[in-house]
Symmetry: C2
Subunit: 328 residues, 2 copies
């Protein structure tokens, strides 16, 4: 098993990416190919006393910044770490690819460099999020395709169900359709048609799911157009983050509050961890012909190591093969 | 000033609606018309020792349940408390209308019974939500129209700005456009065209706002299509609610935690209150020719009293007149 790592992607590249890769290699006994500017990688490792002798390095002279136009992966920067890494994956030099870089470019590169599973119309960006019933769900699509069609949403549901079952070990994942109300007649044309397709799909379709029921764990797969999905994802993460921040401030406000914090800190940290999306590591791209995984842009070594583990599990579970079968 | 109240709408009707109406009448020195089944209202008041002698009652033989088809307000139930109340408003028997009932029916009734401001294409459902920087913002539209056009979103921005300035006293409200990224080129056709319109509108347009920046208070008016807006609204409220619930459980978990809770409870309650949407009372409908206000479905007396106050302020601020001018 060999995982290809974009050494230049994300807010903390390359240092935290290198650290996470070394840890993953040692912990999971896998091969790692670091893709990026060789001089930068080697200097960073030397400056930080990191032993990278066990990692392969493949040189790429450019990198794509987070706010750059995603199409750069194809045209403007053919020698970016993202493009080089994805071409390595496509040609079979590694089994999976992971990057903490530009989400849009990862989706575009995944679709056009790694290519799609046969029959898949559009790959989807599918982050895994924690909910408050003590588990997680996959949101698909969170922005790979802003406009969509019922047939694409059905494919998303099929692929996400495979992933959640095989990689996340959720038996018969509950599929929910993002909608403005629970009743079947809610929503517009897109929702009505998708509802019909999901109802007869053989998947464990639990009907329309409203935004309010999502945090309570109403489904394991949440199917949505990319525009709405992106806003739901970021609102979801944003509210949790701001509320936890507020709580932190409150615990520091007075001596009495600090005392309370001391008493409850352990449980509070456990709760915060349960809801920490870093624990879930990121978002697989669903529909590419080989496993492509997006780690959180802010990933530090530990989160990135987790992302490599999830990429490895994405490979091992042979979920792409299952998806291909399910789509036939 | 006379406010027309739907006595039969919401989860706690008619008791909490009657209580809230009595309190509002006494506190704000306004006239109240309770619309609903006269026998039910009188019996409920008598059973609970409530003095309703100061309130007018207008009989309506039917009511519309929360999960009923919104069009019932027009056809199936012409004598519903919602329809009767809205016709009273349209004919000038009162200055504003408030209901905790079926949101969809309130939007449909507002549009077709109360009628639109001249020039307004589609009224919007516009809840006011607390954010974590210690203030609030208006989300428009949260589901009155699932599909929309740039011109409609521009009208929403104009109306919401008027409301936030005149009723909520926010000077030069910051208008944000819901989008998947901050850059002007993000999103689809709808976002691009709306961005252009907002940029030259003379409003205080602060650009695209992502879901993650909303809870941190990035804007005072958040403009969005109704489908996405509804999902953002409910995700926003849902995450906050589940997280606070989780916190509550944690504080009860052990003796040590209970002790911590005792120390910090006052501050914690203050924080929860700051984020309690009941404090904001609900959602005005923007674009109807007279003030229509939707109170939270779960409103109890105090929240409903707040909603009556907000309806009164909606009337007093003469914001509909200002909107009409701004739209000319």
């Amino acid at each position: 098993m060999k995982i290809i790592v974009d050494a230049m992607g994300g807010d903390n590249a390359p240092l935290e990416i290198i650290k996470g890769s070394i840890d993953a290699k040692n912990e999971y006994q896998i091969g790692i190919i670091l893709v990026g500017d060789e001089n930068v990688i080697k200097k960073c490792a030397a400056d930080n006393n990191l032993d990278i002798s066990g990692l392969e390095i493949v040189h790429a002279s450019e990198f794509i910044a987070t706010d750059e136009d995603p199409s750069a992966v194809l045209k403007a920067k053919p020698d970016s770490s993202l493009a080089v890494g994805m071409r390595l994956l496509a040609s079979g030099e590694g089994d999976g690819f992971v990057s903490a870089g530009n989400s849009g470019a990862i989706c575009v590169g995944g679709t056009l460099l790694v290519k799609r599973i046969k029959g898949i119309k559009r790959p989807g960006f599918a982050p895994i999020l924690p909910h408050f019933a003590g588990g997680c769900f996959m949101l698909i699509d969170a922005g790979a395709n802003l406009e969509t069609r019922p047939e694409i949403l059905l494919q998303y549901a099929i692929m996400a169900s495979s992933y959640m079952e095989k990689v996340m070990k959720i038996k018969s994942p509950r599929v929910g359709l993002a909608n403005v109300g629970a009743e079947a007649h809610k929503g517009g044309e897109l929702q009505h048609r998708t509802y019909e397709l999901l109802e007869t799909s053989g998947l464990n379709f639990v009907g329309n799911v409203e935004g309010r029921d999502l945090p309570a764990g109403a489904c394991d797969v949440y199917v949505c157009d990319g525009f709405t999905g992106n806003l739901v994802l970021k609102t979801y993460e944003g509210v949790a983050k701001e509320l936890l921040k507020k709580l932190k401030e409150l615990f520091k406000k007075s001596t009495k509050n600090k005392l309370a914090a001391g008493l409850i800190m352990k449980d509070l940290k456990a709760m915060a961890k349960e809801f920490d999306y870093n624990e879930y590591g990121g978002a697989p791209i669903m529909g590419t012909a080989k496993p492509v995984f997006k780690a959180h842009g802010s990933a530090k070594a530990k989160t990135f190591k987790n992302a490599i583990r999830l990429t490895k599990e994405y490979v091992e579970a042979d979920v792409i093969n299952e998806m291909s079968q399910a789509l036939k």
